[in-house]
Amino acid sequence: MSKFKKKKGGDLPAISTASLPDIVFMLLFFFMVATVMRDSTLMVVNTLPAADQVQKLDKKDRVMYIYAGKPSDRYQEKYGTQPKIQLNDKFATVQDVGAFVLAERASKRQELQNVLTTALKVDGETNMGLISDIKQELRKVNALKINYTTRNGDYTQNLR
């Protein structure tokens, strides 16, 4: 018997997967840091229009969000296809906007109550009538700072 066995040729050594957890953890941390938890589930279609002259929105605690658009597919059976307003987690009518703003304002700290911005996240396909009604309601409760939230992009995308 020979002491030196001939090594078996041809077999590739297995690739070490020891660094796989490290890579996955790296990705994991990236997503953990980048994640913002949405505080309300969207019940409307919300494809924002594009604009390029945008300004950054204020800090998150100074903003209240009003969503509007067509109800998403699974709500269409119940609520129809006409654009609707969503406040927090439920559909609302135009008349509810004022009360919503007052409630939001009351829930903020005293020093922030006068610097609140209302962010309108409205689907691009919505008619302006609904938005004008919202704006009218906002004027009634003196919430005058608004922000039309948009995607960043060229305006020509809106015209297609």
């Binding site: 594009a50 691009g124 008619n127 948009t150 020509t156």
Partner: protein
């Protein structure tokens, strides 16, 4: 005696656990959009005595229900709107105390006196699409920004920022207070030259 070593913990399943977490975060992530066009609504109380504005100082933009644009009673494409608004704001046709010494426009007597007097009036129909409305708003803001950039560069030749960049820096919470202090008078000076006077009329009804 044989050396006893602690048995190694099997870390093979660590990757599985990490993957599980990773997929959870991937699914729950929504990249929030947090930028847009800032606007200020007019207060509700009725103005008792509305100021009289000369017709030549008003730039009327109407968007109808078919999303067509009517600018100063003439149909126009959105792509031409920015240049038209710039020409109107920068016209500087005023004489005497209304004269505008920094305007570079055509000085047409039938257009605006000076940027301080010039008002853009935007009117839309109830059936106008929101995205078209945003496109129009965007172009009008772009016209203001273009002129403000020009004046900012003229007044502060060695800052190396445009007005838009400076404004973004000013509103960035990471900018130090001393830098903000330095930027504020510069921004205010340009804002005073080209104040954003964009009036949104209540929409007309179709029927």
């Amino acid at each position: 005696m044989a050396k006893r070593s602690a048995p190694e913990v099997n870390a093979g399943s660590m990757a599985d656990i990490a993957f599980l977490l990773l997929i959870f975060f991937l699914v729950t992530t929504t990249i929030e959009t947090d930028s847009g066009l800032n606007r200020k609504l007019p207060p509700m109380e009725d103005v008792v005595d509305p100021p009289i504005i000369k017709q030549r100082n008003i730039f009327t933009v109407v968007v109808n229900k078919n999303n067509d644009l009517l600018v100063e009673e003439k149909p126009m494409q959105i792509s031409e709107l920015r240049a038209a608004a710039v020409a109107f704001l920068d016209n500087g046709g005023g004489k005497g105390e209304d004269a505008c010494n920094f305007c570079q426009g055509a000085r047409d007597a039938s257009s605006s006196d000076n940027p301080d007097k010039a008002v853009i009036s935007l009117k839309n129909d109830r059936e106008t699409d929101y995205k078209v409305y945003i496109a129009v708003q965007n172009e009008l803001v772009a016209a203001y920004n273009e002129l403000r950039n020009r004046e900012f560069a003229r007044l502060n030749p060695n800052v190396g920022l445009s007005y838009v960049d400076a404004d973004r820096k000013y509103s960035d919470p990471r900018t130090s207070p001393s830098e903000k202090e330095a930027l504020k008078p510069k921004l205010d000076a340009v804002k005073a030259l080209f104040p954003q006077k964009l009036s949104e009329a209540e929409p007309s009804k179709t029927n």
